[in-house]
Assembly symmetry: D2
Homo-oligomer: 368 residues x 4
């Protein structure tokens, strides 16, 4: 039997994990049970967002002490996914996922939240954003589904991936070896990497057929997408770190997860439907009591590539002072926070091949 | 009898008023009836936002041709309020207000939307953000209420003011003359000017007693505020341009205006209440049909001075890459747009003395 | 005989041409002699830089009054080149170029500064950044050389071009007509347009052979470039406006122009050589007296596409808060201003096919 | 006898100290001799610059392994000064300072570079930017002069201080305890802290009399300043970390240090004089050979509070997209790099009470 724990912890800065330390000290969390941490750190979410690397290092140091492991051992055992960008009301925080496996058999045939995590092999610069990346991600997601005790693809509600990006150094490295990278624009490489990772999820879950994948469709053909993938690029890693969340009869916990789709960044109805799919039963808006049962929301945001939302011209894509992913996160974050009444939610930018163009997937974990 | 017209016109850039020209050419708008234009232009909404001045000049040139007046005559007759900043989904647009006065008496005793506009005398740099500015604004608002046929303060639902700010040149000018300005920080001067203007509204409407006003409370004591003031600072003027919107029995039109208060930037309930106050009768969320009746929404947004929203730390005030008013506009714009299903709404930043601290007033004009 | 005048005028904002008005009022400038204005306005120099359009409109209104012409007539007669971005110490200003033609024959066989200006036909969105644009620019530059009385290409020292860019609307327009644009990224389109325009200059002056031009080399093969082109993209026009500056025996004035090449953005030696080429005779650094003789400096700046300067990693290209052209202008502006002792110099960003990769051309007009 | 070592190490990111590891592995640096590291990291240099905290943590982890110490022991023994902001050509790097003390007596009576480092006690939020902070810094600087074997204040050429700033949390903390902070604006608190620290240096070196210090002059009276202080604020510490550099007869090394003053950000002559004061003998510009002898340059930069440089209006202070310290660093960095031919130089922003208003101190370490 799998027992999954979910703990949402506010952060006072990218290096602040005092909340986690407190929960370990008061016995709420067993540090050895931590398998993944999904954090929203307060950088710009773009290439030069160092809050992600900082958060990762700080958390490794903290877990190294709490678990009496070396930094390398912690790195091997725990998946760290730091997503930068807390524009608007979004509030920096981490969700700590724990998992305990036992030989007990689950009491009920009801499904509960289950979680698994792992990583792909490291990618060379020239592989980032390419078909081999899609394939490697698909393989790893399939393995992680199995490890989470999830048989049916429809029980997978959120697959979070942290993927690498190209830097000037990595491009140089590839070119020195005579290899070709998918783009020489470091910022743009984030989109390719997020896109290929999301397509990997789509292939694993049968949302997109493997033979529909070619270099030409990656970061191009937006009709191909996964409805549960959430991918986020960072300079601090060279492989993909992956976490799979879904419901399983092999798991037993107080939590359920569900998801929905926001067709665009202000799709209030789409988000409300995601809450209903997660087990909240309401007509128009959730009650105060139901809002309290929401553990966290995980949404993807992107500026519509057309520049238009509901046929109105927005300035996200033509604003050269603020990156468009920052605009998009601010919007989706505000919509989600205004409904659940809490800015401590997770919204990640850049939704290439994650939900429909201009929109994105949104999942919620809800206490029964 | 007063007949007020309201026309919402998308803009393709700060200098684009082709939409207005089209409505004049097809006979919808009589250019001589235009008394005020309230636009959302796509600059950063801060000191160096030139989209406001550009929009103002372009509109003057357009109206000069449409009305066969010189630029100076247009300037004298029409109030131009350009508010910069279309962060997130906000879409650049103008609301054109027209007014025709006739000797007819209104058919019904029901109130309808009425509008009036005018301006204060020019302020010297050393007056910006001070008590004399509060007094001058109060005097002008009282006059404009009368001109709009509004007897009762509670029938005033929106007072939009465009006010001046301090520039390096203006500070220099005052100092050369041995005068003292309220702050030497150009950006900060916008807050003082917006605050003093809003307190002028509060005094005129009896929301704040005149003897409660002193230099010490301006941009300091946030317990003093107006619930219907919306003030916006711009580099391109030295006086205040003011527009008063309310309901009056002396007016006859298809429109009604109402307002509410958002207690913070994600106060969904507060915004829904404003829609109800404007004449839409719904329980939880407006219907598709009711959304269609919304002509425009006018909201103020500000970052909570505490840095916290619903007791969660936000990063608006500590972000030195994006000004906090930009974060705040993105949030309120997203909440409003997600409810009415339209990004073409007006959200203006910097709500000093406009509604409660961290929140702001929100008004809606609704078709009967 | 051609008589060229050059007037450098500080601006207090993008719409401020009071300096020009003053010079007309005191008889220094005959407004009918103005053929081109080259201004440095204080926007971000990127897609959403509205200071350029604002400056252009404001200047048209001013010249319309000074010359008793309609706005359309002014537009036809005068070339307006507004280049956005005054990062670092750069100070907003305009250089006003005047020209009077007479039947007199020049007194001396010495060359003097000559100037001519004009524009290409309007380009359709799908032509921006393409071979037809290169050809049209080349044709117009050749005509303007002739009009400036310049026979030898080596006497051309600065060709300033203002060129159009793609906006979301223009891309939509082309796509509606089934046409293909060179890029769907509005920011990137500025580089294509600047690049094609610069190659047009290179072809006209024989720096690049016409048959070396194909779509494949535009904004790609940086070995092809002009050493005197300075091109700048703006949202406010659809054709190219061009000004040619050089020395001619048919001209008579107090001014000489010369140019040099900065191999990278901190190439102090390259800039000093440009000053020497313009007629200042010094060994290591110009004297105070010589600095006074500098009328203005016109330089191009760009971030080295490699990300490296003198083999050191810079962060210009990986900074997603500040566009790399802004970094580059700040650097070249500081180097130039530190030598001439004046921040009122012209540095324009984005040097595609303008001088060597990572560097750019720099010209100086010097009083004899 | 004191033996000081100076090593300049390029960084590939805020967490990259592979260059240091390499120098330790090849025997060049003894990790136990490291007493201070002064780094230029690539954040925005403002409140939300996490590259500083990241760099500090990463370096502690590296030194902890190299020295076989705990993180706490490293923190106690080594001074870490991370200054954010590599605008323009500035290239991220660290200068590692080592020191070995022996009983030997220096061979020669010539002075050589000496170095010492240490820290003040922690400051409570309400002390930041106040007179007690000035006094505590002065006391510590005096002690460090002694430890560096420097008798005469005129032999001190650079005092680098890393000082704390106020965050929303710290302000809350003080207010909870009924204490008053110097400003509630987190960004502004950086200036107060840098200013008080610099005045501490000025008091210690006799540049400003102790009785001239009162709360009223801090960050106000710019006529009081130190010509050798360089202070930099960061969110990651609560005390001041201080490093003193000067020349001493008790030290023996290949290096000499000297300093000069840049009267404004483009004061080329001021910087050249600093190079001469450091031991380079040249007339107008240093030779290629002399440039090679420059180990590093340490300069302070600030936007002139007047907004004007050489009587020309700059836009640094009115730019709400880019903080003015970022503009200033880009300018001074470009001037310095263009002379020494190397972007790997140290320029730190915000020069309150450090050199004359709008300018700043600049020091150079030169190989004999």
């Amino acid at each position: 039997m799998i027992k999954a724990g979910v703990y949402r912890i506010p952060m006072n800065g990218p290096g602040d994990f005092s909340g986690l330390i407190g929960l370990v000290e008061n016995g709420t969390i067993d540090p050895h049970g931590v398998i993944a941490v999904l954090a929203k750190t307060e950088g710009n979410g773009c290439v030069n967002d160092f809050s992600r690397g900082y958060g990762t290092l700080a958390l490794k140091v903290v877990l190294s002490e709490l678990r009496s492991q070396t930094l390398e051992e912690v790195e091997e055992d725990v998946v760290f996914i730091m997503s930068g960008g807390t524009e608007g009301v979004l509030s920096p925080h981490a969700t700590v996922f724990t998992r305990t496996d036992s030989d007990e058999v689950a009491n009920s045939s009801d499904k509960s939240l289950s979680v698994s995590s792992g990583h792909t092999r490291a990618f060379r610069p020239e592989e980032i954003g390419t078909v081999p990346m899609v394939q490697e991600v698909a393989k790893t997601v399939s393995r992680l589904m199995e490890e989470a005790g999830i048989k049916d693809s429809s029980d997978v509600h959120f697959v979070q991936i942290k993927c690498p990006l190209l830097t000037s150094e990595r491009i140089r490295d590839a070119e020195t070896r005579g290899e070709h990278v998918v783009t020489e624009n470091t910022y743009k490489s984030m989109g390719f990497s997020r896109g290929a990772s999301a397509l990997g999820v789509a292939v694993a879950l049968g949302e997109v057929k493997e033979d529909a994948i070619s270099q030409e469709v990656i970061a191009k053909d937006w009709s191909l997408y996964s409805s549960v993938a959430s991918t986020s690029a960072g300079v601090e890693l060279t492989n993909c770190e992956i976490m799979v969340l879904g419901n399983s009869t092999e798991a037993e916990s107080d939590y359920l997860i569900g998801h929905g789709t926001m067709e665009d960044s202000i799709d209030l109805a789409g988000f409300l439907e995601a809450l209903r799919n997660s087990g909240l039963d309401f007509k128009e808006l959730p009650s105060e009591d139901q809002k309290q049962r929401v553990v966290n929301v995980y949404a993807k945001a992107e500026a519509d590539p057309s520049g238009y939302v509901r046929n109105r011209r927005t300035t996200m894509l033509t604003d050269d002072d603020i990156n468009h992913t920052r605009h998009a996160r601010a919007v989706v974050g505000a919509v989600v926070a205004s409904v659940v009444g809490d800015p401590l939610v997770y919204v990640s930018g850049g939704a290439e091949h994650q939900g429909p163009s201009g929109g994105g997937p949104v999942a919620a974990i809800v206490r029964r």
